[in-house]
């Protein structure tokens, strides 16, 4: 992903060159918010429910006026846009909190407007958030797999294949053994197998990494599809009826409203996700291994000069990424539904790839980006039930449009690891 860095160099280089891109985008979006969210606000109140009636701790629902929120948010956004314009005029850098706050305001205003315009302006916020996290679990595993690969300099387009093969292996192994945990292990092994092919072809045989990734996705899709129709669907009792992973509820903590179910009422895959984000973040930025990984991905020649075995480092990282993505794949067959279906990952691996780039190749960033995608998907599901004026198809394309804007530079420039995608040949 190295060519991403060529063009915008002149735009954001030093502070003396004024870049009007951010102020212009912010102004346009702020005007849009004024027109739609404030002037076009529905007259009714919007209810956000925070807990169910029979929860141990019951919180009152938040009831707000859609017009008030719309106007407040629009005015605040315009103020931020003006601030950005002033900063740019004075040849100062726009502070990073400005776009961040702007994005949050936009999200709040959009949510209020879209729920307010629905036929039933009443939404369970806790369900919306919990559902988002659930939908984001495979995305987070996938993008963590991408982080591990790309930070060491290997582009991983095969996340989709890793997830799908993980899901397949988990279903088969769990069905045969009768234990969901065996399925979890098998998923990790399956992810590693896909990774192994990726590593051998892209590192040992120096085949273009994007090609290997794309082809691997096709291969896994064909292989699992073939086995599904030749074996699994012939005797699905034996091959394709895995037990589900149990939900482990942590006492007391799980009763906290809104965040309780999100953080403390998960299956082991859900907890592993939080652990994986934390461990990979700490390892990548605060350990010797992480420093070497990043060095190999940024400047392999320098790393090699200092005695790091570049290709072995990459090989190990790609295999580790396979473990992570494989476990993520098990989510599909051991948590979400019980059983494997043809091409059941449905392009989630590509979304994970987008989350990785949106999150700027950082585990924490990828985590939040994936959450955003999960939120957008869940929102479109919830809203199509509530009945909104926005056509369903536009809600469904929301995550992808957001990604295009993100990649095209709305949220600042995201820069790929320097050597990502470039094979390293010693000498």
């Amino acid at each position: 992903m190295s060519t991403a860095t060529t063009a915008p160099a002149r735009g954001t280089g030093d502070a003396t060159v004024r870049s009007w891109k951010n102020p212009i985008i912010l102004s346009v979006v702020a005007l849009f918010a004024l027109l739609v969210f404030a002037l076009g606000a529905p007259g009714n109140d919007v209810t956000f429910r925070l807990s169910e009636e029979n929860d141990p701790i019951v919180l009152p629902s938040i009831v707000v006026s859609a017009q008030l929120i719309g106007w407040l948010a629009a005015i605040a956004m315009i103020a931020l846009a003006v601030l950005a314009i002033l900063h740019t005029r004075a040849r100062r850098k726009v502070p990073t909190w400005v776009p961040a706050v702007f994005a949050i305001l936009f999200l709040i205003a959009f949510l209020t407007w879209v729920v307010g315009s629905a036929r039933t302006p009443n939404v369970a916020l806790y369900g919306l958030l919990a559902g988002s996290v659930t939908l984001a679990v495979p995305l987070i595993f996938g993008s963590l797999s991408g982080v591990l690969c790309e930070r060491s300099g290997v582009v991983n387009i095969a996340i989709e294949g890793q997830l799908l093969f993980g899901a397949f292996a988990a279903a088969v192994a769990a069905s045969l053994s009768g234990s969901a945990f065996v399925g979890l292990l098998a998923a990790a092994v399956a992810g590693v197998l896909v990774s192994l092919v990726l590593a051998v072809f892209s590192i040992r045989y120096v085949v273009n990494q994007v090609i290997v990734g794309v082809v691997l996705n096709v291969l896994v899709s064909g292989l699992t599809g073939f086995l599904f129709s030749a074996v699994l669907s012939e005797d699905s009792e034996r091959w394709n009826s895995p037990p589900r992973l149990p939900v482990i509820e942590i006492p007391l903590l799980a009763d906290i409203p809104v965040i309780g179910p999100i953080l403390f009422q998960q299956t082991i895959v859900g907890y592993l996700m939080y652990i994986a984000v934390a461990v990979i973040y700490v390892a990548l930025y605060h350990s010797r291994w992480g420093l070497r990984t990043r060095a190999v991905g940024e400047h392999p020649k320098a790393a090699d000069t200092l005695g790091v075995n570049v290709n072995r480092m990459r090989f190990v990282n790609v295999l580790l990424a396979g473990v992570v993505a494989g476990v993520g794949g098990s989510f599909f067959t051991l948590v979400a539904v019980s059983g494997f279906g043809r091409d059941m990952t449905a392009g989630q691996g590509y979304i994970a790839l987008a989350a990785l780039i949106f999150g700027r190749w950082n585990p924490i960033g990828a985590f939040f980006a994936a959450l955003l995608f999960g939120f957008a998907t869940n929102l479109s599901n919830v809203l199509s039930l509530l009945g909104t004026p926005v056509p369903d198809q536009f809600l469904r394309m929301l995550p992808y449009v957001v990604t295009v804007f993100a990649v095209a530079g709305l949220v600042g420039r995201s820069r790929a690891p320097g050597a990502s995608g470039i094979p390293y040949i010693k000498g």
């Binding site: 992903m1 290997v212 794309v214 899709s221 992808y400």
Partner: protein, 462 residues
């Protein structure tokens, strides 16, 4: 190996090129000289480029004809296909119930297991062949060659979209977005086809044009974003695929597109004047879209190898910084390459909507856009290679449908074989090692890790 071959751009031979191109040509010529030197000094460490290089550069001078055949790309390609078919056959045999039954007494009568395995694999492959090339059991001549025309019908969109992907590869762009471009092209073409009612001839021409414009706009947007913001085209095209799918679904729910009286996302039938006429009479589904695909292949060949624009595109693909230094407008190159690629994918959309399907649905592109990537990779991004690969994959797909119907073997096996072929072809050293073939250019050097070396120039594509 890489989609855009590592050959330096050969100097254009026409004398009438504008003076501003002069520098570019000179640089390219120098590059070529430098690279030839490099190839020679590498002492046979480098594998041959994706497209056979001019005689004398790749093969060592003393190599015999046999050695040249043994180290050639054609042999590797052939062996890749054979190896993939064998692996696919193994997969069919392993999952066959008869084989499983016979294997329970494998040590008593091993020949039963092997026989059952052979029956399963050969049965599936013979059904595949009969469904794609020649039907032995056909009663009339037209029935016997019917499968072949089916193959060409399926190959038509594959060739068009594959050419688009290949052209973008050559300009250094990884165009994963053929799927979306086909969809948008088909949407434009379909709308012209069922909304405007025009006389025959003009109508079809407008439909084709609209399809090309649709694809070109959709892909050109990606080129524009890449050129202006530096966003990566792999992500952009993937996202644009999803956006296109949802956009088409939305269109199909509006009165302008939806079939009157229907609640399903399906458009009215295209006018008869908007359809490609059948090529071999109404008994066959093959339509004039195939001729358009052939013409498109000729055009892309001409564009890449004989035109100034194509020269610039290849220069951008070979080394964007060098091209910029030499005075080529790289941004324009990106936009142009994507727009032409999109127009070609749009042609695939036209072939679907006004040739095969005759109606616009959200599934009109099937998975042609993704198959096109493998087609372009197998064709090594050369126009005629893509053409041949398109026909091969068209045969796989057409035959796969027949195979699934007659022997019950899932058509997914075709995906497995296709992707294995591309994987093996992409890694010639692996195939050579598996078949104990000598490495190219170094027939007596024997082993040693040097065979895996490849010029590392194309990381830019990724």
């Amino acid at each position: 190996m890489t989609p855009q071959d590592d050959r330096p751009v050969p100097p254009a031979t026409d004398g009438g090129a504008p003076l501003t191109r002069r520098q570019a040509k000179d640089t390219a010529r120098q590059d070529e000289v430098r690279l030839e030197n490099a190839v020679e000094t590498a002492g046979g460490e480098l594998p041959p480029p994706a497209v056979p290089a001019p005689a004398g550069t790749a093969a060592a001078p003393e190599s015999t004809l046999l050695q040249r055949i043994m180290t050639g790309n054609a042999l590797v390609a052939f062996l890749s296909v054979v190896l993939s078919l064998i692996l696919g056959g193994l997969l069919i045999a392993l999952t066959d119930p008869n084989v499983a039954r016979a294997s329970s007494y494998f040590f008593g009568r091993p020949q039963d297991t092997l026989g059952a395995a052979w029956t399963a694999a050969s049965g599936a492959y013979s059904a595949l062949f009969q469904g794609s090339v020649f039907n032995v059991r056909g009663e009339s001549f037209s029935q016997r060659i019917y499968p072949l025309t089916q193959t060409l019908t399926v190959a038509t969109p594959l060739i068009c979209a594959g050419l688009g992907v290949a052209l973008a590869f050559r300009a250094g762009l990884f165009n994963i977005g053929a799927q979306g471009q086909i969809l948008i092209g088909a949407t434009f073409a379909g709308w012209v086809g069922f909304t405007l009612h025009l006389p025959a001839g003009i109508h079809l021409l407008l439909v084709i044009l609209a399809g090309m414009v649709g694809g070109a706009v959709w892909a050109g947007l990606v080129g524009l974003l890449k050129a202006r913001t530096g966003a990566h085209e792999v992500i952009l095209t993937i996202m644009f695929n999803y956006i296109a799918t949802n956009l088409v679904l939305y269109f199909l729910s509006t009165p302008a597109f939806q079939r009157p009286g229907s609640t399903n996302p399906i458009s009215p039938q295209l006018d008869a004047t908007a359809l490609y006429p059948p090529l071999l009479g109404s008994a066959f589904r093959l339509h004039w879209g195939f001729v358009v695909a052939v013409l498109a292949t000729v055009f892309v060949w001409w564009l890449l190898n004989r035109s100034t624009v194509g020269f610039e595109l290849r220069a951008v693909g070979a080394n964007a910084s060098a091209a910029r230094t030499a005075g080529v407008n790289v941004s324009r190159g990106y936009i142009l390459a994507m727009a032409i690629a999109g127009a070609l994918a749009g042609l695939a959309g036209v072939a679907q909507v006004s040739g095969t399907e005759k109606v616009l649905t959200s599934g009109v592109a099937a998975s042609f856009g993704f198959d096109a990537i493998t087609v372009a990779l197998l064709g090594r991004s050369s126009p005629w290679g893509t053409f041949a690969a398109g026909i091969l994959f068209g045969a796989f797909r057409a035959g796969g449908v027949a195979m699934q119907a007659s022997t019950g073997t899932s058509i997914d096996i075709v995906l497995v074989v296709q992707s294995l072929i591309v994987l093996f072809i992409a890694a010639p050293p692996l195939v050579r090692a598996l078949f104990r073939l000598p490495a190219p250019g170094a027939p007596r050097a024997g082993k040693g890790g040097t065979t895996t070396r490849t010029p590392a120039s194309t990381g830019a594509a990724a």
